[in-house]
Amino acid sequence: MRALALFLAAMLAMPLAAQDTLPPAPYAYQQLEDPAQEAKAMELMHTLRCLKCQSQSIADSDAPMAGDMRHQVRTRIAAGEDPEAVRQWLVDRYGDYVSYEPRMTASTWPLFAIPLLLLLVAGAILWKRIGRRSEGGAGELFEEADV
């Protein structure tokens, strides 16, 4: 019984990180009634960056501002907005910083292009070497002893 009381008390604990004394926004800690919408909101919240605690997503953070951001995400999705439109709404205000979803932009395209380029170069080198060896006959890829 005592353990149950303690457990219930722990369930009711308020986040310690809160600096203000106001209760959290209505949808900061409450899920949406529609499970499909809640799943969409949750998926989006895991890819949005908390502005107060910059290595956490807003889904992970107990900062009051992250709670207010979750409230915005949930109410907008409940109103029928597309998750990507909600992301764009935040990116319009805070820049790419707020999103963990990588995007191809004028400054990020080398991150996508360089691996492709390196693969091509590696492929070309391999092609050249293997081609040269099979031509040579004696310089087969595998020596007989290896097989």
């Binding site: 600096q19 203000d20 926004a25 501002m65 207010d68 951001m69 990116v91 319009d92 805070y94 820049g95």
Partner: protein, 175 residues
């Protein structure tokens, strides 16, 4: 000796140089609003204090540039910037406040203790206006021109040297 042997070393030197350059640059940890040059959202906030009216978008469209100060009574740097806001008010600047996640009695107590430079203060209980204008903390001060367009953002508490800067920003916004 083939010249291609030097390529990996040159690449390595390039990355060391790049890392060294980036390390020597001052780090900017602020998240700047990307709403500069854009209009304020349409909003209406109830009064946050007992003495001053609330805030709506229309209050910013009277042709006169103003400061929009995002603050809270629970925010310690907001106490530090109170004298600077007072100096701006004495210079004839209208300062509109938005109190984030704040209670009326706490706001009243803060104004009593640290002075009241505001013409109005709106209550934003769920940081909605803060998120709308791309502000990521308290205190932040925005310069809003007479048409309600966001012209400048100052992140963090105002220091003495920021007062002339903001006056200059307000003058530019008034042109």
């Amino acid at each position: 000796m083939r010249w291609t042997l030097w390529v990996p070393l040159l690449l390595f030197a390039f990355f060391v140089g790049l890392a060294g350059y980036q390390l020597s640059q001052p780090k900017d940890e602020f998240i700047h609003s990307t709403m500069i040059g854009k209009p304020l959202p349409v909003f209406e906030l109830k009064p946050a204090s007992s003495s001053l009216p609330g805030v709506s978008t229309a209050d910013f469209r009277d042709g006169k540039p103003k400061l929009l100060n995002i603050w809270a009574s629970w925010c310690l740097p907001c106490i530090a910037e109170a004298p600077q806001l007072e100096a701006l008010r004495e210079a004839g600047v209208e300062i509109v406040g938005v109190a984030i996640r704040d209670k009326r009695e706490d706001v009243d107590r803060f104004l009593e203790a640290h002075g009241n430079p505001y013409s109005r203060i709106g209550a934003d209980h769920i940081s909605a206006i803060q998120l709308e204008i791309g502000s990521s903390g308290v205190p932040e001060t925005f310069v809003i021109d007479g048409q309600g367009i966001i012209r400048h953002q100052h992140i963090g508490d105002l220091r003495a040297e920021n007062v002339p800067e903001l006056l200059e920003n307000l003058r530019e916004a008034g042109q």
